[in-house]
Symmetry: C2
Subunit: 355 residues, 2 copies
């Protein structure tokens, strides 16, 4: 069947050339006579591939070897837990920007004291708080760089004196950031980086020194660093999809080129919203708008349902808002093409004209 | 490149027809116009596929709906931890058959008291202890059905009055067992069931009622049952490889046919060992030999290195023993063909003749 325009919030589209390339790898990975899912994670071939992947992350982010790159299973929830398990001694500060930071706090609370250093709850999480209050004795500030559900994204980060931990699941490597501001960055890969099954974690060595050691080895970031992500069998295929996707990203021109393209894509959709005279209503305030997830509503839930249905008939998938908040959402991750964004913008205008 | 004879201990070979079928699915899964890694885990298409997979597990094992099938990330180590976190109230009994049960005990010890209910440590784990001593007040007996490193496998299980938990990572669905003897069975899928990235867990409802609730939702089996394995984004591709592999297994004739084939494959290699007049030395005692992992040694480490090298030159991969114990090992998981086992047997005879 013809490929659809896929605006899923994650798992989400992958570059077609990456997927096509993976087909051969399923039965013969790099002339080994074995598929990528069949090679040993203790083999030279796996190690070379893993080393490449880590080098790509370093090159794309500009981070030096004082940052370590590891892959961890268990998705975001595992990271909510591991960040606290490892680094929460006294108290952890959380910048509350919606569902994901709330979940992070809730999970962290099993391991120590947590508190809100800021919150945009007062206005339905439609903005990014610009200041944070960090109490004395705080171990770290935790934030979520892009909020898929509310469609907000940090354009700049607060300056604090404590280590910064960022959930970048939904905008990792979609734009330039000064990554050196962070001590730990993690991202589930199923949005911008590859196929669901692993989180990419970048952790600064100096932060590792502050980690607890009274927890099982499995939960220690140190373990993943020391074992080079092979403490136990890693999700080889998922890591390899990251390898291929980052190669694609490099070829495209890296983060600067990606950011320019993502700006254009988002601008297409926001322009329709802003020019619709209230027919489409953006949720996020303009200055904090996400380039990854455009969230909007129509006048009634019925009209929204009609929008989703008609869009689907026209080959646009994944436009329903998150099940917790409703509304509509177009996710524009790296692999969503400019053509797809333009086609959606056109469809939105037509839909408005017909109503 | 020509496909090699792959005897890797895990990740390990997958059926060629499954891999070939997956290629199309990477760009167009079941006529959705999206690849399997691109569909939403909240979509109807994913749910149908998940339901099929669970039904296949029920059908192949013969287990009824009082057993729940879930998929959990994090591999074996996560299961070492979760089984204890959930079910260890007073004390846990462990049948010690080597590295994997030792690791399970070590991880469990973070959450309560554990003890050895039996052990074959006295003879380098070359046999399966036939009796277990379960103390009063024990929450469960934990065992490992097949031991990849030492090449031993339970042919029958001890009878105990407490719930039984089995790590079947390396022989799951490779043979018939009376699965109703167990209250929880888990298996990393990368040996017999699919591509690394998920563990298959089958848990009896009555055991769930005994689970702790003072742990994060993420670690509770109950959460995976209630959310139907989608508490957070599951490793969709990995689960789908299980779906395809179990379909292949059904078509082959289910567990009875698979067991017959696996017996034949193992018999080929053991026959060479037993007929070699001490040139090849099997590690496990005959009655407890694993059909999945044939472990053996040669007179010297030098000769073993030569064996591995020559085997590789002849297209046989993965014959080195586990890094912790050395020696040689041929893993004969479900997807290893009879032809591959016969070819290896022939090679072993020739190697002996030349020495």
């Amino acid at each position: 069947m013809k490929r659809v325009y896929n605006f899923n919030a994650g798992p989400s589209p992958m570059p077609l050339e990456v997927l096509e390339g993976l087909k051969e790898d399923l039965t013969d990975f790099r002339q080994t006579g074995m598929g990528i899912t069949e090679i040993s994670h203790r083999s030279k071939e796996f190690q070379v591939m893993l080393d490449e992947t880590k080098a790509l992350v370093h090159h794309l982010t500009g981070l030096d070897d004082s940052y370590k790159v590891v892959f961890v299973q268990g998705g975001g929830t595992m990271q909510f837990i591991m960040t606290a398990m490892n680094f929460l001694h006294c108290k952890g500060a959380y910048a509350d920007t919606g569902v994901w930071t709330t979940k992070a706090m809730k999970n962290a609370s099993y391991y120590g004291t947590v508190y809100e250093a800021s919150s945009s709850k007062d206005k339905q999480y439609s903005y990014i708080p610009k200041t944070v209050k960090v109490e004395a004795g705080t171990d770290y500030l935790y934030l979520c760089a892009n909020n898929t559900i509310y469609g907000t994204e940090y354009q700049a980060f607060p300056r604090v004196e404590v280590p910064m931990i960022a959930d970048m699941s939904s905008n990792m490597l979609s734009r330039t950031y000064d990554f050196t501001k962070f001590d730990l960055v993690w991202a589930g890969v199923q949005k911008n980086l590859g196929a669901a099954g692993t989180a990419l974690v970048i952790v600064k060595e100096s932060l590792l020194e502050r980690a607890r050691t009274d927890i099982p080895e499995f939960f220690r970031y140190e373990t993943y660093v020391k074992s080079d992500s092979t403490y136990n069998t890693p999700p080889v295929f998922s890591i390899y999809t990251v390898n291929r996707t980052l190669q694609w990203l490099e070829k495209l021109g890296g983060l600067t080129a990606m950011e320019a393209l993502n700006r254009k894509k988002a601008a297409e959709i926001y322009a329709v919203i802003d020019g619709s005279e209230g027919f489409y209503r953006g949720h996020a305030v303009k200055e904090d708008r996400s380039r990854m997830n455009v969230t909007f509503t129509l006048e009634t839930p019925e009209l929204e349902a009609e929008f989703v249905e008609q869009a689907k008939a026209h080959g646009f998938i994944g436009l329903k808002g998150h099940r917790l908040v409703g509304g509509l959402r177009a996710s524009l991750y790296n692999a969503v093409t400019l053509e797809a964004a333009e086609a959606l913008a056109m469809f939105m205008k037509e839909f408005q004209n017909n109503h």
